[in-house]
Symmetry: C2
Subunit: 354 residues, 2 copies
DNA sequence: TTGTAAGCGTTATCAA
DNA sequence: TTGATAACGCTTACAA
């Protein structure tokens, strides 16, 4: 039943060639005479021989294994993005001949320790970084130690140009996303469109806010833009409680930095507005929650991003020159998913705790 | 900057002992004289030496690596369970000294091919199976090939006793979950409580239906139970469209086999019932969507399950006898999370009795 | 075009 | 208690 696994040697012996010939057939077929090549390949097929990754790794110093940190699911809503990303990344890595090893870390420092450990112990070939932010210690560490990696997220910095960055990265154009969301609301006739986002972060959040601002300014709404913008924590309750202030300033529609915020805002608007007025809210990330409650949302092409990340990273790992191959810095445009809200309820959402 | 990685040999030379002594300090400390042991350990610390997994694996034939399939996120709602499970599993594996390798497969046959491949190539020590079902070809294959594994999900079968199963598994007691959900609705005064589930599957779905049935029978509702039960696909739309038929049969409250179904049913009830009537619906899995919408739901202890799976599996892999150590077959009771619709973020968890 | 020799870093075996 | 020797399965360099 369970057959003993053939090795290069046992296979070579069984067909009367040296183990080197078999290795060549697999790694440098052109060096082997077609006739013997055929014979060897047939034997490989029949025996089900697969080279041992450990042995190969020991010799070549390449593990064909990539590392990815799994961040704790904070909120469950925005966590869905990680889920989709992970899945696409697994498939892309698999297709490219790489395996994916997960590790879990609470913060950047812990992640660095894990990377260091995995580098020593398992000889990982490279890493995929997610959630890059201003002053990210991980990119610095990896570059210092000459570890190949690609980031999902540009290197946020006020001073440096991300397109000059030494490491490859793929990112979503958040600004373009909120810009098109704002454009959509403008088309619907809204003029005082608010933005509900996070506190200034020199990163993701500011980028999304910038897109809204750009669209508003292009539409001629200058001057009072600051008062249409709110900055809070990233959860449903915070989204709900920010709404009243914005309404007081005459806001009739909202672009949000996340689906969590959007959902909170949406629920609150449902509670406050007259029943015949449909709340005009657009979220960000197109999570299952948005789909479930019928919330419009900006949909980042995470699966595409994952594939591109593997493409650049494996290009780098193959030792190919940076000039050819996939672009080392890519910004992907999100799309807008427009939905009609379900009638889920009219109750007032409340802030947890106090 | 980047220091050259020390090896067993270089480390041994640097302190003037044989490489074997260093190896012994690490793997069989009791065989080494305390004095030298100290000396070696100190050198290990200072040099930051870590044994190479590949070399060790080549020698010991153990990879300290476990495999897990990542199933495609079908619906996004129920997928959240996989996310939580994966996270807990990663941490547990990490803590137990194992690494986790992911692979993606569309169906059981493809999974088996991947397992076979990973076994040959990467010498994985074991696998974690999820989503077991009646007539599962994977368990058969793994047993036939003597591959260690543990399943999240009992071996569903009409004939065989799952507790007699040869392989370890951990499962959620779905019936207990729906039973307590039904009990909760009974307490609220409902009498005609419907069940909205999937078509008969000799597995997960039937189990959840059975719990509802048990609670209803215990409450004296015999006879007409079948007409209170509906079976559909597992998505929001199907949940919504099943509602009318159930209402026509006098159902006043619903226990659902998933949050997708529950959400659909809930939305439909909101649309159909008079505004002052709060729909009484309980979902299953306690997904972020349920939390966001304020839907009561049965919460399976997935994180706990993940930890227990790693515990049994690593017990098996350590070659320990089945008699001692963690139980090889474990059924975990879910809890019921009671929410008020749209009381966003405000949850009242209830403990499940007995 | 094919075969031989050496070595990747570790642990198992056994002798000192 | 310690150390020498021999693998584990593979690839690289070089010789035939």
């Amino acid at each position: 039943m369970t057959q003993k696994k053939p090795t290069l040697v046992s296979l070579a012996e069984s067909i009367g060639v040296s183990r080197q010939t078999v290795s060549n057939v697999l790694n440098a077929p052109q060096r082997v005479k077609p006739a013997t090549r055929e014979r060897v390949l047939k034997a490989v097929q029949e025996s089900g021989y697969r080279p041992s990754a450990a042995a190969r790794q020991l010799r070549t110093r390449r593990s064909m294994d990539l590392g990815l940190r799994l961040t704790p699911v904070t909120d469950g809503i925005n966590g869905a993005v990680q889920d989709r990303f992970l899945h696409a990344l697994t498939e892309a890595a698999q297709d490219a001949g790489y395996r994916l090893t997960l590790y879990s870390a609470r913060d950047d420092e812990e992640e660095i320790r894990h990377i260091d450990e995995l580098l020593h112990v398992a000889d990982l070939d490279g890493f995929v970084l997610t959630g890059t932010h201003a002053g990210d210690p991980r990119t610095a560490w990896l570059q210092e130690h000459a570890v190949p990696f690609a980031a999902f997220g540009r290197p946020w910095s006020r001073t440096a140009d991300p397109f000059e960055s030494a490491h490859p990265w793929v990112d979503i154009d958040g600004a373009a996303g909120t810009e098109s969301a704002t454009g959509f609301l403008l088309e619907q006739g809204h003029r005082r469109i608010g933005f509900l986002g996070w506190r200034p972060d020199e990163g993701l959040g500011d980028d999304r806010r910038a897109g809204w601002r750009r669209a508003m300014e292009a539409a001629g709404s200058c001057g009072s833009l600051n008062e249409l913008s709110a900055a809070t924590d990233d959860d449903v309750a915070a989204g709900a409680s920010a709404v009243d202030g914005l309404l007081a300033r005459g806001v009739t529609a909202l672009v949000c930095a996340s689906d969590s915020l959007a959902l909170g805002a949406f629920a609150q608007l449902r509670a406050v507005l007259p029943p015949e007025v449909e709340p005009a809210v657009v979220g960000f990330d197109d999570t299952p929650v948005a789909a479930a409650v019928g919330l419009s949302s900006v949909a980042p092409p995470v699966a595409d991003a994952a594939r591109r990340i593997i493409a650049v990273l494996s290009h780098v790992l193959a030792g190919r020159p940076a000039g050819e191959g996939p672009h080392r810095h890519q910004v992907l445009k999100p799309s807008l998913v427009v939905r009609k809200p379900y009638a889920l309820g009219r109750t007032v959402p409340r802030r947890q705790g106090g």
